[in-house]
Symmetry: C2
DNA sequence: TTGAAAGCGCTAACAT
DNA sequence: ATGTTAGCGCTTTCAA
């Protein structure tokens, strides 16, 4: 079933069918137009997007490279990307680098062979040369979540330093003095580094010294994050608050605190990065730093599509999304008090 | 940069390059092969998958239609699909029907125009005619999660009746007598119907009568699931266990029980469908019916790829995946006791 | 207002 | 062992 079949059946040339198909009615008289449209419907004809793409050198497909499908933050980002693609008339190809630079490279090349019109990527930050090539080739690209230093490139990222300050200041406001931070150890990921940096800055600004910083760096491949965390809390037994930069660490942290027979928030207050579906249902409900994941996906897609359609070298833009603090009882004795009264 | 450029540079025809490119070395002598390979590398040439696809009428792309990106069950399924695609040399296009039959139809047609080799779908079950067309056209298709009754079609689904029996029997074993079930009201989704059916069967088999059944059907668009649940529990004040067929309902249920000042599991035991990242961290840790989501995605993809490559009308198969009960303290006084002792 | 024909980049049947 | 060529289904220039 091709455009030729439609043309024959309607008694016109494929040129005419092609025009009608693409909404160019200016060349045909009403009667022809109607006949062609009718024929298309009768045959239930659908144009072959491969042939169209080959001819036009453009596919209306964008690709996204994620590094983790299981974290709900990424589900939300993906939802934003998918919705926006749909609205703008693009299809979406997806893949998962799993933090593996080899896979990342493979997938980017795959996308290029498939002639996708542009790529959204949460980079492993371990293929710097490759990213640079893409930039130089003027390939439509938007980097999300992680900052690529010294790249002239479209980026949509969260303000992680600001998020940390919200968290730490809130803990200080609630009278906490011995505030620790937990973070995955990964030298490549700006996100996590910036969150620790924000913690450091907030502490120093508020009159603490470098000696007051309590930083627990956790190997992502660590057997038991809970055990590591318990050991840390034992070594720093007077810790009265923990700011966790990752929602999976947070769950292990809560477990660790429970097992040490300590109370949240009475003994240890908690604030965690990234709002999740479960945060408000934990016991006690968890205070979180909420990043607008859906927005991140949406804006990244909008910028990408813009840079696809307006090829005339507009300069790359960086959008920094502001986080919000969602205050719940895990960090807040007052709220806890209120709740008991109801 | 095309295959012609490579051919010219290497001083051979495009046929030869094409052969080498596709691993057919039998036609060329070693020296030619090496020269061509060298040239390909030097030019950093990547074949245009669009042209190849147009010629071959096959793209090595499969499409997946999901109905919800945010539920962690679907993230797990997607991970299984993505991994397996990668292993089998396929790329993946993704879209989200959002339970909207219009969108579902649109996306399936989009996939067809893009000549994807096959589709994995969690159907809205509201485009029966369309599914039937695909079957008749012998279009490679695998339905996951939801059963399509009276369709001769590949399916990979969970055994929901069995899952319910595991849940209910476990609750009965723990001495519960007044067991309720909560479920989203949606006449199209077999999954949920089957879970209630399994609850009914398990109750009747164990000597209860239809009068002992306590079924709470919840409108998915309901303003406050928590409120609805509280009302239900008040009306049925002697309920001593709830089997929740959905992980989002479960969170609201736990909240409702807390607000009624009842204890889990002392007053009300809970078992919930679908293991989640957070289940073991709830207070108390949640007993769940675990469906192998990753396996579901993996097996569906394998079946799909098989039905793509072995076009010779093999008959459709239905794979039913067995759920497992993960017993934690929300349903289990003994365990709770054990835990207190540690 | 309409159509003929070239060509997008690739593969494969068919020479040589 | 290698090359010539037709053609996959579409768009678009140019001619009528």
């Amino acid at each position: 079933m091709t455009i030729d079949d439609v043309a024959k059946k309607a008694g016109v040339s494929k040129t005419t069918v092609s025009r009608i198909l693409n909404g160019d009615y200016s060349h045909s008289k009403e009667e022809t137009k109607q006949r062609v449209i009718k024929t298309i419907k009768e045959l239930n004809y659908r144009p072959n997007a491969l042939a169209k793409g080959l001819k036009l050198m453009s596919t209306n497909i964008i690709g996204i490279v994620l590094s983790n499908l299981n974290n709900p933050f990424w589900s939300t980002v993906l939802e934003g990307v998918e919705d926006t693609c749909h609205k703008l008339g693009y299809s979406l190809m997806i893949c998962n680098s799993d933090e593996d630079p080899k896979k990342e490279k493979h997938y980017i090349e795959e996308f290029q062979m498939r002639q996708v019109d542009g790529i959204v990527i949460n980079p492993t930050v371990r293929n710097l040369q490759l990213y640079q090539q893409l930039v130089q080739a003027n390939y439509p690209l938007v980097v999300i979540n992680r900052r690529l230093k010294d790249f002239s490139i479209n980026q949509v990222i969260g303000d992680n330093v600001q998020g940390s300050k919200l968290a730490v200041n809130h803990l200080l406001d609630n009278g906490r003095k011995k505030i620790a931070v937990t973070v995955y150890k990964n030298p490549y990921v700006s996100t996590w580094k910036e969150r620790v940096e924000g913690y450091r800055e907030a502490m120093l600004i508020n009159g603490f010294s470098a000696y007051d910083l309590r930083i627990l760096e956790i190997d992502p491949l660590s057997k038991s994050i809970k055990q590591v965390t318990m050991d840390f809390l034992k070594r720093n037994h007077d810790t009265d608050a923990v700011y966790s930069t990752n929602n999976m660490i947070t769950l292990e942290l809560i477990d660790a605190i429970r097992q040490l027979n300590l109370k949240i928030p009475e003994d240890i207050a908690i604030v965690s990065y990234d709002e999740t579906p479960w945060a408000k249902y934990l016991e006690p409900p968890l205070t979180t730093v909420n990043q607008p994941g859906y927005e991140m996906g949406k804006i990244a897609t909008q910028i990408l599509v813009r840079s696809i359609t307006e090829k005339n070298a507009q300069r790359p833009e960086t959008v920094v999304l502001k986080p919000k603090l969602i205050i719940r009882e895990s960090s807040n004795l007052n709220r806890q008090g209120l709740d008991l009264r109801r």
